[in-house]
């Protein structure tokens, strides 16, 4: 490909990425996104530092976050078409132009990676770096703010590129059958062995370069990035056909047990889509980890051991949101309107699927939390009531505000503000009691249990009220 053509494709890819995000974030709102990122990351970093987290930990966490972000970004253009389709409908990216235009697939892939690196480095990583450094400034280090921003931005960008390259290389190897998978296992085993031998692997990554700017660390960073991209270029074939997946008929069997076709389809969608039910559990596991950290932190702050039942119960109930999100990822109401189903019946099916999955997912982590942290039986019982109540409340609120599109919260700031207020108002008093009062008296426990029940009833009430709202909405649009 000539330089002029490559430049043109690169510019068009940048434009494509901008338009994709503009559409996701409702047009002009997206131009403010870097400011939002700067404030969000800066605010979070400030909060962590103020509450006693070491700045080094904040920087390490940010690097880890960006690496995961890089891993994810590497996959979205190549294997994330399903996810994009769910959000935007049919999507065809310029990286697939080799199917219709006289362009080299490898060159397109290279341009795609460069485009992503530039785009995300400028619009995401720079505001992240600025926000973080401004939030933790004055807490040490020989560099000025500007120098630290520049250093952090550089190492974050390198880590992001390394993450993308790792995904592409892994996808390439995974597509080469058993030998490829075996080769994929080699670096994983090597890293595991190095860690087991107390070798500080992290020092040789871009994060290590952030900590100490030595020629060795710079060299290992460059070599690792070069290695993953070389491996990716050799093994990855974006045009390779994916074998058709054949599965055993399951719908009828599940439907007999569940009793509702929409609920059955919703659960089958989760089971069959990438990650299966594991992704639902993973979302709850993240919440579980956050709760554990919060409980520890609250205990240190107040000097009072938090109530395991109340704190874990109330927070794990929030997993209802992510569970509902997964239940609505693969369809919308329109899909059902060519069948003799009312909008009301579609939502009823989703509610049934939620009842089968939502509280269960929260309780799957609540049980181990109790086993790990212990606590009085009465508090454990009230915590379970709170968990189910909060899960139903967050379900009802989400359905009322967004219908079958909980992703709307990501793109509609006023709606997100209403949702945030609706969550904060009932949860703050519950969590204050759970974190700061010990032991919890009988009357207070009774009140908390009753409040959990009220939240559940309010959630179901909101769900019922939303039925009329969405029935009318879908008939008029």
């Amino acid at each position: 490909m000539s330089d002029a053509r490559a430049r043109r494709v690169f510019v068009e890819m940048l434009r494509e990425e901008w338009r994709l995000h503009s559409r996701l974030f409702r047009g002009s709102h997206f131009s403010l996104f870097p400011v939002f990122i700067c404030l969000l990351i800066g605010g979070a970093a400030k909060l962590l530092v103020v509450t006693g987290t070491e700045p080094e930990t904040v920087f390490a966490g940010l690097h880890a976050l960006v690496f995961v972000f890089g891993l994810h970004t590497g996959s979205i253009g190549f294997v994330g078409q399903d996810a994009l389709r769910n959000l935007l409908g049919d999507v065809t990216l310029l990286v697939f132009s080799a199917r219709t235009l006289p362009l080299s697939q490898n060159t397109l892939l290279g341009l795609f990676v460069i485009k992503d690196s530039v785009y995300y480095a400028v619009l995401f990583l720079l505001p992240m770096s600025l926000g973080t450094v401004l939030a933790v400034r004055g807490v040490g280090g020989p560099f000025s703010v500007a120098e630290t921003v520049l250093l952090l931005w550089t190492t974050l960008a390198l880590l992001f590129v390394l993450g993308m390259g790792t995904t592409i290389a892994a996808l390439g190897l995974a597509g080469r059958g058993v030998p490829g998978l075996a080769l994929l296992a080699v670096p994983l085993v090597a890293v595991g062995a190095a860690l087991a031998s107390s070798i500080d692997v992290v020092s040789y990554t871009p994060y290590g370069l952030f900590l100490a700017q030595t020629p060795l660390r710079a060299g290992t960073t460059v070599v690792s990035i070069f290695a993953v991209f070389l491996l990716g270029a050799v093994t990855f074939d974006a045009t390779a056909p994916r074998p058709a997946r054949t599965v055993k008929p399951t719908f009828r069997r599940w439907w007999r047990r569940i009793g509702d076709p929409v609920a059955t389809k919703s659960l089958l969608d989760i089971h069959r889509s990438a990650g299966g039910f594991g992704k639902v559990l993973f979302s709850a596991a993240v919440l579980f980890g956050v709760t554990a950290a919060l409980v520890d932190f609250a205990g240190q702050l107040t000097g009072v051991p938090p109530s395991t039942g109340i704190s874990f119960g109330a927070i794990l109930g929030l997993s209802g949101f992510t569970t509902y999100n997964w239940l609505t990822q693969s369809d919308d109401v329109d899909l059902y309107l060519s069948h003799p189903l009312s909008v009301r019946a579609v939502f009823a099916g989703k509610f049934r699927a939620f009842l089968l999955l939502g509280p269960l997912v929260g309780l799957a982590f609540y049980g181990p939390a109790l086993a790990w942290r212990g606590g009085p039986v009465a508090e454990a019982f009230v915590g379970a009531v709170l968990l189910v109540g909060v899960a139903c409340y967050i379900f009802g609120t989400t359905v009322y505000l967004t219908g079958l599109s909980p992703n709307e919260f990501l793109f509609d700031t006023p709606l997100f503000a209403v949702f945030g207020a609706a969550m904060v108002l009932p949860l703050v008093p519950v969590l204050t009691a759970g974190f700061a009062i010990s032991p919890l008296s009988g009357p207070l426990l009774t009140a908390l249990g009753g409040f959990g029940g009220v939240l559940g009833v309010v959630g179901v009430g909101l769900y019922r009220r939303s039925l009329l709202k969405w029935s009318e909405r879908y008939q008029q649009v």
Binding site: D82, R242, P243, A244, R245, T246, V247, K248, P249, T250, F251, R252, W255, P261, T264, K265, L268, D269, H271, R272, S273, S330, D331, D334, L335, L337, S338, H339, P340, L341, S342, A345, Y474, Q475, Q476, V477
Partner: protein, 249 residues
Amino acid sequence: MTAIEIESLRKSYGDVTAIADLSLSIDDGEFFGLLGPNGAGKTTTMEILTGQLSPDSGQAAVLGVDPATQPTVVRERAGILPEKESPPSFMTPREYFDFVGAIREMPEETVTERTGVWAERLGLTAKLDTLSSDLSRGQQQKVMIAGAFFHEPDVVFIDEPLANLDPIVQERVKRFLRSYRDAGNTIVVTTHDVDVAAELCSRVGIMYEGDLVADVRPAELDTDVTLLDVFLDNVDATVNQIDEPLTHE
């Protein structure tokens, strides 16, 4: 007997008028084609008739049922093949037919039997247990066609039924549609393919800017007049640019 009755139907999207003032009557057993350029209001009409959309004013009835007030009753009795929908990505064709059968409360034996019949009819047998996301567009279209006719409805609404199908399957589908009509059922098809409308439909309504501008029976046209001639005579000159040269020179 009248299968479908539309009277003074109007529908707008903001400032854009999708249906201006549409009145139409379709008899039992007719193969009716709604023909028109893009944006003529064909799909909006179809969505109103199947209860997926409420009109701003006017009346519609399908088999005597008002789709605006009883949408699920209409959809119970009708078969619908929307243009843009494809079968759910994470279901196989067999599971999709099970799903359709479950919603329509059909006995499992009937569902199993019709799954076999439709798979045979459309050459889907080898793909019955393949996830729909891994089927080609044409195979997905076959699944949707089978889903629309699965309960053997009295009225079927189909939007661009032959899109993405290979010529052999197109011919099979055409023959099936004719035989289905011959059995006394009503078929309403929307298309912008004049040849398809001329070949299949006993009667064609030409829509333009939300209005029904012509109502013709292709079989009764004079020998020197084609449906394309009628179509071009009835759409605006700004749309009708067929006389302008479009050659590689």
